[in-house]
């Protein structure tokens, strides 16, 4: 919990760049939200199109593929961004290590940060996704709730997984190298 509080404090102190990092997640989350919220509409429209020779199955699979691609790209972006965050904060990691802060806590600080980007990005994405969804046929309330829960869980979990490698990198770095690094 203390590592989570520290992550939140550091994110809060650099809100601007944190918001930009969340945006990477938000794009994927918005698409996910939109697809799920509109899934029944997509299905009925696909059924209409099916008359014209295109199968329902194909259209559903194409939408799903798009969403998966968006999620993978979002996850990769979180991984890249967190690696950069870890490199930027090498000095801080060195100080924490020199002060004898446990590797577990240092790991958690950076893992929680990825988790928070996923969570905030998910929220932003849901709002954007809802905005786009409202442009088309009105989705049902139940579908919106389902899309919201699914998107939030997915973006948070995927971001956290994407942050594992950078967080491990933070722990593995040598304290002396981290501190004597000229900035």
């Amino acid at each position: 919990m203390k590592s989570l509080r520290y992550s939140m404090r550091m994110i809060n102190r650099a809100r601007g760049s944190a918001l930009l990092r969340s945006a990477a997640v938000a794009v994927a989350a918005a698409l996910t939200f939109f697809v799920i919220a509109q899934s029944s509409t997509v299905r009925t429209q696909a059924a209409d199109l099916a008359v014209g020779g295109i199968s329902v199955d194909l259209i559903e699979r194409a939408t799903l593929a798009l969403t998966v691609i968006a999620i993978v790209v979002g996850a990769l972006q979180v991984g890249v961004l967190m690696t950069r965050v870890v490199l930027q904060r090498m000095q801080e990691i060195g100080i924490l290590k020199a002060a004898g802060v446990s590797s577990r806590n240092i790991f958690l600080v950076f893992l929680y940060e990825s988790l928070l980007y996923g969570f905030v990005g998910g929220l932003i994405g849901c709002v954007i996704g809802l905005g786009i969804a409202l442009l088309g046929p009105m989705p049902g309330g139940e579908e919106v709730v389902r899309a919201f829960i699914f998107t939030m869980v997915l973006s948070t979990v995927v971001s956290t997984i994407a942050g594992l490698a950078p967080a491990r990198r933070a722990v593995k770095s040598s304290a002396v190298e981290a501190i004597s690094h000229a900035w």
Partner: protein
């Protein structure tokens, strides 16, 4: 070299002791010998100054003494405990409880205020945060920064930043302070003030302190001067109030 004999013959055990320390670094194809068999013992209450030009191995020496790095060969005893047998996490706990580090470039976190920087070493511990905060304020007042509690490093001078770093090194009530070139980034007056602060902490709190420097005026404040060159100890003025170590005073 014969410092270990002095350590044994004395009543109060050394806080930090090194035994035939070697440290080799590999830079590309080249092997750099930073330390070539250094044996030193630092006793409680001493203010030791390690003098030497850059590249003499004094920074490496401090890193090894504080368990920040592992030696290639040799042993380090921190409060009598050999460090070679410790796992990384045990070594980390050891640093946390026994060592305070001060660095040449202050190493404060730019996003945090003076108080937050000072409490950093304890921020993940299971301690009463109000108590820690009070201790931070008290330490900052102690180093003369009672009026800068909520300032970030960018709004402080180099001397002030180094004072914050000193307060941070003291927050965990360490047994030994290791200051690596603490005045090298400061002008003479500010550097002098930092050394005076360390000297006062040593005399008033009995804080065992090891300072590395290439500045001879810093050494004037020390109770003992160890001179290093080319990875070896070339002179040691001996532990203060401990005539037994004079056998090592080759200067």
């Amino acid at each position: 070299m014969n410092q270990e004999a002095a350590g044994q013959s004395e009543g109060d055990a050394p806080i930090v002791q090194t035994d035939d320390l070697w440290k080799l670094f590999t830079l590309g194809d080249e092997v750099v010998k930073a330390l070539k068999g250094v044996s030193v013992a630092v006793h409680p209450g001493e203010l030791v100054c390690i003098m030497g030009p850059s590249g003499s191995g004094k920074s490496t020496m401090l890193h090894l003494m504080g368990g920040l790095e592992r030696p290639t060969k040799g042993e380090i005893y921190l409060e009598g405990q050999p460090l070679s047998g410790l796992t990384e996490s045990q070594l980390s706990v050891m640093r946390h409880q026994a060592v305070g580090f001060i660095f040449q470039s202050y190493n404060l976190i730019p996003l945090l205020t003076a108080v937050e920087n000072v409490e950093l070493p304890l921020i993940f511990d299971d301690v009463d945060s109000n108590e820690v905060k009070e201790k931070c304020v008290a330490l900052l007042e102690r180093v003369g920064l009672g009026h800068r509690l909520d300032h970030t490093p960018a709004r402080m001078s180099g001397g002030e930043q180094q004072r914050v770093a000193i307060a941070r090194s003291l927050i965990g009530s360490p047994k030994v302070l290791l200051a690596d070139e603490p005045t090298a980034n400061l002008d003479h007056a500010n550097g002098e003030a930092i050394v005076e602060l360390l000297t006062t902490l040593n005399s008033e709190m009995g804080m065992t302190t090891v300072i590395s420097t290439h500045d001879r005026s810093v050494a004037e404040h020390a109770s003992r001067v160890i001179e290093m060159a080319d990875g070896k100890v070339i002179a040691d003025s001996g532990a203060s109030g401990n005539p037994l170590t004079s056998s090592n005073a080759s200067a």
